[in-house]
Symmetry: C2
Amino acid sequence: MAEPLRLGVAGLGTVGASLVRILAEKHNFLTDRCGRVIEVVAVCARDRSRERSVDLSAMKWFDDAVALARDPAIDVFVELIGGDSGPAHDSVVAALDAGKHVVTANKALLARHGTELAMKAEQNGLILNFEAAVAGGIPIIKTMREALTANSVNRVFGILNGTCNYILTRMEREGISYDDCLAEAQRLGYAEADPTFDVEGFDTAHKLAILTSIAFGTKVAVDEIYVEGISNITPADIQAAYDLGYRIKLLGVAQKTDTGIEQRVHPTMVPFDSAIAQIHDVTNAVAIDGDIVGQLVLSGPGAGGDATASAVAGDIADIAKSRPGQQYAPAFGAPAAQLAPYRQARMRAHAGGYFIRINVHDRIGVIASVATRMANENISLASIVQHTPAKQEAAKKQDDHQTIIMVTHKTTELAIRNALEKIGEDGHLVSAPQMIRIEN
Amino acid sequence: MAEPLRLGVAGLGTVGASLVRILAEKHNFLTDRCGRVIEVVAVCARDRSRERSVDLSAMKWFDDAVALARDPAIDVFVELIGGDSGPAHDSVVAALDAGKHVVTANKALLARHGTELAMKAEQNGLILNFEAAVAGGIPIIKTMREALTANSVNRVFGILNGTCNYILTRMEREGISYDDCLAEAQRLGYAEADPTFDVEGFDTAHKLAILTSIAFGTKVAVDEIYVEGISNITPADIQAAYDLGYRIKLLGVAQKTDTGIEQRVHPTMVPFDSAIAQIHDVTNAVAIDGDIVGQLVLSGPGAGGDATASAVAGDIADIAKSRPGQQYAPAFGAPAAQLAPYRQARMRAHAGGYFIRINVHDRIGVIASVATRMANENISLASIVQHTPAKQEAAKKQDDHQTIIMVTHKTTELAIRNALEKIGEDGHLVSAPQMIRIEN
C-alpha cells in the first residue's frame, strides 16, 4: 500500500469540522477505496478553544494558515477559511509554491484568482480541486471537467443559491411577501443577518464565474457578470408567472453568443415542465447543454456542512488515488495557460422572451398605446392581459389603476428597454415596470 | 507531451461510428484537454463494406475482435459490440490479459461478468471504465465511484430505460393504451421489434445490477433482481395514480434493508413533486441517497449514439490523463477482491406503500369485505375509494361492476399478497387485481 496521504486543514467552521469528523469516522472505508490511509495531521483555525465536537488531539495546531500550508509534514492543503484575500488567498498560494496539492471550497477565491491559481498549480505539477466551491454536494465540477471532456458546452445554467430558492419557493407556495420570507429564512438559518450577498445575486455570480471558465475555456471573469437579485420580486409576479405556466427562479446563466459570452444572474421565468422548475427550497441544480451529450441536469444539496464536506472529501480521495509523477488534468478543463481571454456579450444584445408587468392609470386607450410602443420596437407579443385589481385591493389605492401583463416572443434586451422607456415617457405608469427574462 | 494514446475500437454500430467521428472532429480539442493525442489505430466490425459515414482508411481493420484486443499497437480496447458472451466477452478478457485498458458500454457484460472482469483489471493494474453502460450520457458511474467516495449509499434508484419512460409518458399525456404507445414507440425507433427486453424490465435490471455493486460494495448479482415490466399498466392505473398525486414510472431500486439488499425493478408510483416524476419521454434519471451528501439526482439522455459516445469518450479521456505506473481506482469503487457476497432481501419483506386497484362485482357488502381483509393483515389504509364506472362504460360489460382503489400506509409485500389472495378467494374479483408499489 502507498504511503499515507497527509492533510493540513485550514478552517474549522461547519464544513471543516464536518470534514475532520467524516475522515475519522470513515477511516477504514476510505483506506479501502483509495488504497492508502488519509489522515489529517495538522489543522488551523482562529480560535483554538472553541468546542467543535471533533477530536483534534492527534493533530498539530497552527494559528497561521500560511505556516500550515508550508509545513513539510503535509501533502495536501485543504482551505476552508473562505474569502478572496487574506489568509485564504495567501495560504493557497503558499501551499502551491511549497509543492502541496490544494483542495478548497472557496468560491470567492476561485472567482477572483482562479486563473492564476490554476496556472501556478499546473506549472508546479499539482492538483487544484474545488468541487465544493460550486453547488455544494453536486459533482458539477467533476462532471464538466472530466465526464464531459469531449463536449463543447453551449450553455450552463442553474440554481446556485439555496437562500434565494428557499425564498422564491415559499413565496410561491404560501403567497407571502419577499420580506416575510426573508425574515423566515433568517430565523431558520437559511439566510444571513445581512442577506445582500445571497439575495442580490453575488454568491450566484461567484459560482457562475467558475462554471463559465470550465464550460468555455475562458479566463475567470466574475466582474463582467450582469447581476440582478430577487429583492424586487413580488407575490404578484409569482402569481402572474404561475398563471402563465412558469416559475420564477434566480438563475445564473452562461451562454455562447455571436458577440461573446453572456454571463448573467437574474430572476428568470422557467416553464413548469422543465427540470429546473422542479427544484424547491434550498436545493441547487445545474443544467449543462453539451454539443454531444445534449442536456444533463444535476441536482442536490448546495450547502450545509456535511454535503459540502462530502464534495471536499471526494476531491481529497481523487488526490489519494493519484500518484506522484502523474500529469494532472487542468483545474478548469483546458490548461490554464491556454484559457482564452473572456469577452462579455453586451447585455442589451441578449435575445430571449420577456415577461413585463406594468401598473397603469385606468384611462381609455392605454393598452393601445402600450401595444403600439412594443410594436414600434418590433416586439412580438405572445400574450397581453389587462386586469383591473379586485375591489378590496383597488379601494386601498389613491388612484384607480390597472395591471397589464405581457409575454413576448424572442426579442432583444435593447428593444424591451427602449419600449419600457417610451411607455414611461407616455405617462401611463403608476410604478416602475417589472421585467423578468424567460429561459427555456 | 506524452505519447499518443492508441485505441482499438470493436463494434461500429451507432455508438462506435459516433465515437470514431467525434474523436476525429475533436482531435485538437481533446489533445489540449488530455495533454496527449488520442487516435483510433484499429477497428473491428462484422461487415467491412457497410457505409458508416466515417473515414476508417487510416485504421487497421480486424474481422476478429479478440485479435484486435491483443494487437500490440493498441493501448486501450474499446468494446462496443454488445452482448454478455461471444466476441464481446472474449475480446474484453483478451484485452485485459494482454495488458490493455478497457472501455466498454456493455451493460449485459458487466451485469453478468462485472466482478471477474474488475478483478482481472485490478490484478493487472489496468483501468476498466464503463460509464456508458448505465444511463447513457449521464455520469452516474463517475459520480458514485469518485465524487461520492466518502459516502455510504443507502439507496440508489432511477429511470434507466428510455423506451419504458417514453411509453408511460405518452400513456399519461394522451390517455392512450400501452399497446398503442408501444406501436408508436416502435414506429419512432424508440422500441425494438421485439420489445421484451426493454418493456419487461430486463434492460433496467442489467443497469441496476451495476449500480448496486458500486453503491453497496457487493458482487454484481443480476439474477437476484426482482423484475416486473410495464406491459400490464393500463390508462386506468395512470389516471388513478394521477388523481392521487402520483406518476407511474418504471424504476430500478436498490436499497439496504435489515435482511439484505433489495434489488427490484417494477412500475412505481412516485409523487408529482419528486424530481424523478418530472423525467419525461426517453430521458433517464438516477437518484442516490448518500449518508453524507443527502440526495443527488442526475438526469439526461440515456441512449442514442452521440450521448453514449460522449460517455465513452469521457472514459477514454480519463485514461489519456492517467499515466503508466499509477494505481488505478477500482472499477466498482471498492477493490474487486473485497466486494462482499451479495445477499438479496426477500421481496415479501419489502416495506412500503401500495396502490391497489380491483374490479369487483357490484354487491352489497363488498367494500366492507375488502376492507376487513386488509385490516386482518394489519394493513393501514391511507385512502379507499369506490367508483361505479360511467354508464357508457358499464353498458359494455356483461356484469355490473365497481372499481375499488386503495392506497396503503407502509406495510409489507407479504401482507398485501395475503390480503389480495383472500379477497380473491372471497369471489369478489371480476379480474386480476392491480398492485403498484409506491416510492417516496
